[in-house]
Amino acid sequence: MVELTKYAGKGGCACKMGAHILANVLQSVTFPTNANVLADMSGADDAGIYKISDDIALVQTLDFFTPIVDDPFQFGVIAATNSLSDVYAMGGTPMTAMNIVAFPVPLVEAGALTAVLQGATSVLEKAGVAVVGGHTIENEVPLFGLSVTGHVHPNKVWRNNTPHIGDALVLTKPIGTGIMSTALKGKLFPMGTAEASESMATLNKVASEVAHNFTIHSCTDVTGFSLLGHGKEMAGDNVTLRFRFQDIPVFSDVYEAARMGLVPAATYGNRKAIGDVYFHESMDETQQDICYDPQTSGGLLLAVPADEAKALVDALHRAGAVHSAVVGSVEVRGDYPLVVE
């Protein structure tokens, strides 16, 4: 049995490069654009949006990473789910995908890549997405992901930094995948790690479809930069997001695992990069770490008018996103962009 995480350069910890490192690079390069671009990386949006006509715009995104689980099929499932997530987070519908593959030849010969692609395919079938190509190189550390193209109505794009004051914040999946992936490396907390694996393999498709029946002011998917990192992007410069920690869904065992130090390196990176967070004095270090936990294939964070929030959560529960919860609110900008109490 191939154990994929043994090949992961970062020892199984989240491999996304820290935003604070990347920021210096992005400041030094000016990327070309044109008038049809409705969203690009300048707005910290989850995907690029390109307007084709008044009725249709392309949604484009790509995502890839090193193995976070040992089972190749499961890795394919999670990578594909994660790659599609950005399209759903923009309010779009994914149409086509291309595989991005870097793999060591011995692992390919051992059948691992076949299983990865089968895993990804199982997800793409559920999402109704066609695979139209890919590119493969030899590499010592395995990498897998997808480039995904979808469509969205140009006037119905969900931006990630346009919440309204008074909105409620709804989160559609529990958090803690980073901590649980770390626990998995130590073969600890089987219950929580199983819950996290299942959650990482769950598409945001259903949550997105349900949310389309409500007034969504802003949406993002919670991934490597953690609930607070993506929350900070949503807060932008104009509002404050207030989270209630007790209302944030987490996997079983997450608190205990974080308390005993099964905290991925990227958590510390997120804490450093995000900065301005006001934690209520009752919150201990472990609770704070959970808020900074890097997510893989995390849920959607939706800003919705407060009077629609309960109905949205009820509808999400009925559709199968059973952990969905109102986790906070959008307020007039205070001293901090983010408050957790």
Binding site: K6, Y7, G9, K10, G11, G12, C13, P104, P106, L107, E140, V141, T182, A183, K185, G186, L188, E256, A258, R259, M260, G261, L262, V263, P264, A265, Y268, E285, T286
Partner: protein, 197 residues
């Protein structure tokens, strides 16, 4: 009072916590000092100690962070750093299964003698990496296995290049140490006190 040492320099999270946990679980009353080489591992081991109710002391020198966990109720003793049982940060990179250039037959005998001498040396490296044909020495039917296991018992971390094991089709026969990759090896050797053989 007995102090146990867990030297996990050169490995990444969550191994430092897991290795510390093993020692603590086997003897909860022992004083345990874990040595790590990065702040993330330092903080994670501290969290582990606090979660188990130990008094946690942290010291650092050029060779690492020393986190000492003392059972509550036991008076914490001064942490002594700087006298590690290993050569502090020294990494051995073994690139083939014989020693030196010239006769390979001679080189293989020299290698055997080398491992034997190292097991008896006063100071040992803290990590030994095996790449290319050197990985043949860490498999089950290797003549070096006994000596290498003795090094592990002395706290030396042995890590073999996974791609190399795959190349020689030896992955299933790994007899001692762990599998690593070039990223980890590169991380571990750059800026370290490295000896290549």
């Amino acid at each position: 009072m007995e102090t146990k040492t867990v030297d996990v320099r050169g490995v990444l999270c969550p191994i430092p916590v897991i290795e510390t946990k093993k020692v603590v679980d086997s003897d909860p009353q022992a004083v345990v000092t874990t040595i790590v080489d990065n702040e993330v591992s330092r903080d994670n081991v501290r969290k582990f100690g606090e979660s188990r109710g130990y008094v946690v002391q942290i010291e650092a020198n050029g060779q690492g962070h020393y986190i000492t966990l003392t059972p509550s109720g036991v008076t914490p003793v001064a942490v002594t750093v700087g006298i590690p049982t290993t050569l502090g940060g020294r990494v051995l990179l073994i690139t083939k299964d014989y020693l030196g250039e010239g006769s390979e037959e001679l080189g293989r005998n020299l290698m055997k003698t080398f491992w034997m001498c190292l097991t008896e040396a006063d100071a040992v490296p803290d990590t030994i990496y095996f790449i290319n044909s050197a990985v043949k020495m860490v498999v089950n039917d290797s003549v070096h296995l006994d000596n290498l296991k003795k090094l592990v018992d002395r706290g030396v971390t042995l890590a073999a290049c996974g791609i190399c094991l795959d190349y020689y089709q030896l992955k299933e026969q790994l007899g001692v140490g762990s599998v690593t990759n070039m990223y980890a090896i590169t991380d571990a050797i750059v800026g370290k006190d490295l000896v290549k053989l």
